[in-house]
């Protein structure tokens, strides 16, 4: 019969959220002692792990290094068990290379790279479980990992998706909503300045709807930034309690 009803007349989505509501976000920082910075983040059922090394000297050929700022190196991967169907995911397939590139662009806009000329910052992110909004979960996890590593940034980078169903923008899509047809837009925002670090959309959308959709995504990002901020503060509190002893 007819497909799923993504938004009911009463304004509830399939999982019970209202249109502008985010999924539950949970995060922990410093999950690995070895790395310079690390974070684990759950956005609903999407779970991401981010690890940051650096800044350190450029590895490999010198030619890659830049004389006035640090190079950001991103690597994105998905665990074989991350989706409902188990798939072997070779490194460097087209999708993950693209995602790595997007992440690199996002963080180049946020990290104060000019403070570390001729050096390199590595960001590794892995999706452990995928349920929509992989890119945004990665960005949010990586932001926390960068904060954990103590790398100066202009602002938090918060990312979120937004979709368009029944003339209503939906924030933070889950997998069913993403695959249910319709447009999905990913946006990474520097919330304090309101600058957009990255904006991506693959499907067609009429120009008239674009503004409302971006607006919805930006509101969602701002909501997320509050959550991330509280995670950071909570973490600091815990750490300072530990160090005081």
């Amino acid at each position: 019969m007819a497909g799923l009803e993504l938004l009911s007349d009463q304004g509830y989505r399939l999982d019970g959220r209202k249109a502008p509501e985010l999924r539950k976000v949970q995060a922990r920082m410093s999950v690995f002692a070895q790395a310079d910075g690390s974070a684990y983040l759950e956005q609903g059922n999407t779970k991401a792990l981010a690890v940051v090394y650096g800044p350190h000297e450029t590895r490999g050929s010198r030619s890659k290094s830049l004389h006035d700022r640090a190079v950001i190196n991103c690597q994105y991967s998905m665990a074989t068990f991350s989706t409902a169907e188990r798939k072997r995911r070779p490194h460097g397939d087209r999708k993950s290379s693209e995602m790595s590139l997007h992440l690199k662009q996002t963080f180049e806009a946020a990290v104060l790279t000019q403070l570390y000329p001729r050096s390199q910052i590595d960001i590794y992110v892995k999706i452990l479980q995928a349920d929509g909004g992989n890119y945004s979960a990665c960005v949010n996890a990586a932001t926390l990992a960068l904060v954990d590593a103590g790398i100066p940034m202009r602002d938090y980078v918060c990312a979120c998706t937004a979709g368009f169903v029944e003339e209503t923008p939906l924030a933070d899509l889950c997998h069913v909503e993403e695959s249910g047809g319709g447009t999905s837009l990913s946006l990474a925002l520097l919330p304090r300045s309101g600058n957009i670090a990255l904006l991506q959309m693959d499907a067609r959308l009429h120009q008239d709807h674009l503004d409302t959709l971006i607006e919805a995504a930006m509101t969602a990002c701002k909501g997320l930034s509050k959550v991330l901020d509280s995670v950071v503060r909570q973490h600091l509190k815990e750490v300072s309690v530990l160090t005081r002893d």
Partner: protein, 951 residues
């Protein structure tokens, strides 16, 4: 806002996939009652004073129906008496899954503010969500969820009692569910016992659908039909190719026969023939069914006999067996066999409420009666009513509830009465309902988007438009036309060329995308013209006034202007929004008279002559390319202005000016189609006319062959040429008959979205591309085309849906459906008025031609009235004459006289009113004289009842 989280794990078959979905439970879902102070609902839906007076439950109460009650008793729920109902999300989801129509209806009810229906999102409510327990079926889980929600409601509302306690009543017809609910201390009733207890409206009981419990006692124990397979086995059967899925189409003329159309892939459709009630096995027209093919040696040929189910009005299975035997005999003779099979299961019912009449039982006190639907493809329905005496002679609406395997007829219930049968209003209402034509008066919401009167063309309008008021524009239409959507002009340019303009009413200026007015027009799709009645697509202010290009008023137009040379070759084309001032509104006859009268030489006439000359050239070019000119007799009634009874009927006469206007409309449509397709290759709304499959021309070949003529159908051009050559000197009407036949072979022209299709060809017009631009007042497709063209020339802004090819395709589907239904409604209206005409006229003798030859009948066309009728050679009451049918000819020999197609005959025409529901025109043969078959002339006095024409 608290969000707690639980996981619902679902496994789907087909590879073991574990699907994990989040499910948020909320504590901000309100109960929706005015009484409740705890919930912070801003606009509670359920009234504090919820009084449906019932003898069962005296105190005010809210109703919670379970899924089956909503599915089967939707007619009851829609009644204005039933208010303050809580529809649970669980119920709504199950309904959505099981019946799209009921889902749509219940949603409409929920949206109706007067009804106070509240949807409670129980699946996401913190206290009413339940998880499926191990070993519990999905159905049981949902029943439990409904009980839990009902329990929550009654506990929740108990806290808030003031004065009298507010109760919650669960309605279910499921015995087990009811018992369990009672155990939990819930107030629960069976639907019928509750409805019967209502004081307000005793008639409501008639509308109760019969539930499965009641069905057992209503029918005999004898099994008439074989059991339907369960859905799981059907699906398995379809997968491994044992069964086929298709849509059942009942035969209009023979109730013992039907076909199932099976869509195998994109274009390929196979037909499976079903014969006999047992093989049709309770399938009703339009149901999606599973069929099983018989082995090849059991295949049979369709019978071209006409059989109607008009047995007595009480149970009678024996007679049917007799009829089945009769079928067997006929079957054995057949030569050309078709795939034949039987229905083994129903995949989806497509029942809607049916209009028709009660055939009351002969037992006076009986409450069970048979209902005969107006649509002959629908079987008779057994209903239970106590109002039979009042309903006799009325047209009523009935819905089917079910068809048990032990019952000869399906069971149903009375929905509402439409009025006295035979009444013009009632009959019009019936044919509008039967053809699903939206005909309610426009709502206030729709009317609110009309321009405010007095309306004037403003400065801003003038700024963005070309001023063409000085041009000598005129319109040519049928007499009495008030919705004029096109006007024309032509003038000589200084360089010797001719400027020709087609000006179309600028409807899209008034109807803005997405508002209620637009949505209503999109839903209606087309204006429906019935005899003496017009059901407008847009409100009258627009259709007959502001948009109508009447003479001597300033009107907004969308103009298409060509520069042509004297050979009608287009040199230049321009589209623009404009302002015009038509100089004359002419009828075809007036325009023709001006052209022909050499004494008149004013600007309008000169312009018309020039247009006429160019039109002839254009038509010649089109015919050269292979455009078909097909005729079908169109009937027009002269309607008495006072009584609105038809007083005379005649076939529409075509004049040169008809074709003149048509020619320029075609040119405009083609030009616009090309333009919007160039600009929007993905989302242009176009119109195509597929070429018919070669087999559909069989009858045309045979007809021509019988007169030693050859019809070629390799291409439209070949067909057009051979039709032109197929004339018989002694038989001038022959060619027209051939063309009428050719029309019947054609496919339907349809709207489509250019991004969704690759075949654009318009067969009938021999044009590679075509659309509709010229009638925006009465066709919605034209409004969309106007909008596209306006965007293309930067005269208007675009909007999202216009550029969405899927939405456009969905729109096209609706428009095609509406056009088809409008056409059927129109034919039905003509048929009804023909009957009225003959009722007043008495009996008439007239000449006609045989259009088709059937196995036991001939179908005759009366050119004078454009009327078709059937002469049967078989009669139930008396022995039928000796007759044999030859399908090669096809010919039918009756008592040594052989009828061929197109034979000239003389018949007497009268109205057969013996069956009040299916009153029909009866034709009886006068000539040729066949003893025992034909009737004698002079049995009637044709002019006896002729109304006074000249007063």
């Amino acid at each position: 806002m608290l969000k707690s989280k639980t996981f619902v794990k679902k496994t789907r078959s087909g590879g073991v996939l574990k699907i994990v979905r989040e499910h948020y439970l909320r504590d901000d879902i309100w109960c929706g009652s005015e009484v409740c102070k705890e919930c912070k609902d801003e606009a509670p839906v359920l009234q504090a004073d919820a009084c449906i007076e019932s003898t069962l439950c005296v105190s005010p109460h809210y109703l919670i129906p379970d899924t089956n009650v909503v599915l089967h008793q939707i007619d009851i729920l829609e009644d204005p008496l039933i208010k303050n109902v809580i529809i649970l999300q669980t119920v709504l989801q199950e309904v959505r899954h099981r019946s799209a129509t009921v889902y749509k209806r219940i949603k409409d009810v929920v949206h109706d503010k007067e009804k106070h229906f509240y949807t409670f999102t129980n699946e996401h409510h913190r206290y009413t969500f339940i998880e499926r327990e191990p070993g519990e079926s999905a159905n049981d889980r949902n029943d439990r969820a409904i009980r839990v929600a009902a329990k929550w409601y009654s506990d929740h509302l108990v806290k808030e009692t003031w004065g009298r306690p507010l109760k919650v009543v669960l309605l279910t017809n499921d015995r087990a569910n009811k018992e369990m609910a009672e155990e939990h201390g819930l107030l629960v009733y069976k639907c019928d016992e509750y409805i019967k207890s209502l004081i307000g409206n005793p008639e409501l009981v008639d509308r109760l659908a019969l539930t499965s419990d009641d069905q057992n006692d209503i029918t005999g124990s004898k099994l008439l039909f074989s059991e339907h397979l369960p859905l799981s086995r059907i699906q398995a059967g379809i997968k491994n190719g044992v069964l086929l899925q298709g849509t059942f189409h009942a035969n209009r003329d023979n109730y013992l026969e039907g076909t199932v159309l099976i869509q195998q892939d994109e274009k390929d459709v196979t037909e499976v023939l079903l014969q006999g009630l047992q093989n049709i096995n309770r399938a009703v027209n339009q149901d999606v069914v599973a069929v099983e093919l018989f082995p090849k040696e059991c295949w049979v040929a369709p019978l071209s006999v006409v059989l109607q189910d008009d047995g007595p009005n009480d149970e009678d299975a024996e007679e049917d067996e007799a009829q089945n035997k009769y079928l067997q005999i006929l079957t054995s003779k057949s030569i050309v066999r078709k795939p034949t099979g039987q229905v083994v299961g129903i995949i989806k019912r497509n029942w809607r409420p049916f209009c028709g009449m009660l055939s009351p039982s002969q037992i006076k006190e009986a409450t069970r009666h048979l209902f005969t639907p107006a649509d002959r493809r629908i079987p008779r329905i057994r209903i239970e009513t106590r109002q039979a005496a009042t309903l006799v002679g009325q047209k009523i609406m009935v819905a089917i509830d079910g068809w048990p395997k032990s019952s000869r007829y399906p069971n149903g219930h009375f929905v509402r009465s439409l009025g006295t049968a035979g009444d013009k209003e009632t009959e019009t209402e019936v044919l509008l309902l039967e053809h699903d034509v939206p005909h309610q008066p426009f709502s206030q919401a729709v009317l609110s988007f009309l321009p405010k009167m007095p309306w004037n063309i403003t400065e801003e309008d003038m700024k963005v438009r070309v001023d063409l008021r000085h041009l000598c524009v005129c319109s040519v239409d049928p007499p009495g036309c008030t919705d004029i959507d096109d006007a024309l002009h032509s003038r000589e340019l200084e360089n010797g060329n001719i400027e020709v303009g087609v000006h179309i009413a600028d409807v899209s200026h008034f109807i803005r995308p997405g508002n209620a007015l637009d949505e209503e027009a999109a839903k209606r799709g087309t204006t429906v013209y019935l005899c003496g009645k017009r059901i407008d697509m847009v409100p009258e202010l627009l259709s007959s006034n502001l948009c109508s290009l009447r003479s001597n008023v300033e009107r907004l137009a969308f103009s298409c202007i060509w520069e042509m040379n004297h050979n009608a070759e287009v040199l230049n084309i321009r589209f623009t929004k404009s302002v015009i001032n038509s100089k004359a509104s002419l009828t075809y006859a007036e325009a023709q008279m001006r052209i022909d009268d050499t004494n008149i030489n004013d600007d309008i006439t000169k312009s018309l002559r020039c247009l006429n000359k160019l039109a002839k050239i254009l038509k010649g070019q089109r015919t050269e390319k292979g455009a078909l000119t097909l005729s079908s007799p169109e009937v027009r009634f002269h309607i008495d202005s006072e009584t609105h009874d038809p007083i005379d009927l005649q076939t529409k006469e075509l004049m040169e000016t008809n074709s003149m206007v048509e020619e320029f409309m075609l040119l405009a449509n083609i030009s616009v189609a090309q333009k919007i397709y160039d600009e929007f290759s993905e989302c242009a709304v176009l119109r195509k006319h597929p070429s018919p499959p070669p087999s559909s021309y069989d009858i045309l070949f045979k007809a021509a062959k019988s007169r030693n003529l050859v019809i070629l159908t390799d291409s439209a051009k070949a067909l057009a040429d051979s039709l032109n050559n197929a004339t018989i000197e002694s038989f001038p009407y022959f060619n027209t008959l051939l063309r009428i036949l050719a029309t019947r072979c054609m496919m339907q022209a349809v709207y489509f979205c250019s991004g969704m299709d690759s075949d654009f060809h318009h067969y009938g017009l021999a044009s590679p591309i075509y659309t509709h631009f010229t009638s925006p007042i009465r066709r919605y497709a034209d409004i969309i085309v106007h909008r596209l063209l306006a965007v293309a020339i930067n005269a208007d802004t675009t909007y999202p849906d216009l550029m969405d090819k899927h939405k456009q395709a969905a729109l096209c589907n609706n428009l095609n459906y509406r056009h088809k239904m409008a056409q059927y409604a129109q034919r039905a209206s003509v048929a009804f008025h023909t009957q009225l005409f003959f009722r007043n006229k008495g009996i008439i003798n007239e000449e006609g031609f045989i259009l088709f030859v059937r196995k036991n009948a001939i179908i005759i066309l009366i050119p004078k009235f454009g009327l078709e009728g059937t002469v049967f050679f078989e009669n139930k009451d008396k022995p039928s004459p000796d007759h044999s049918f030859d399908s090669e000819g096809p010919t039918l020999t009756v008592e040594k006289h052989t009828f061929h197609m197109f034979d000239k005959v003389k018949v007497t025409i009268s109205l057969d009113a013996s069956n009040i529901q299916h009153q029909r025109i009866r034709m009886a043969l006068i000539e040729p004289v066949i003893p025992g078959v034909s009737v004698a002339v002079g049995e009637s006095e044709p002019e006896a009842k002729k109304p006074k024409l000249d007063r």
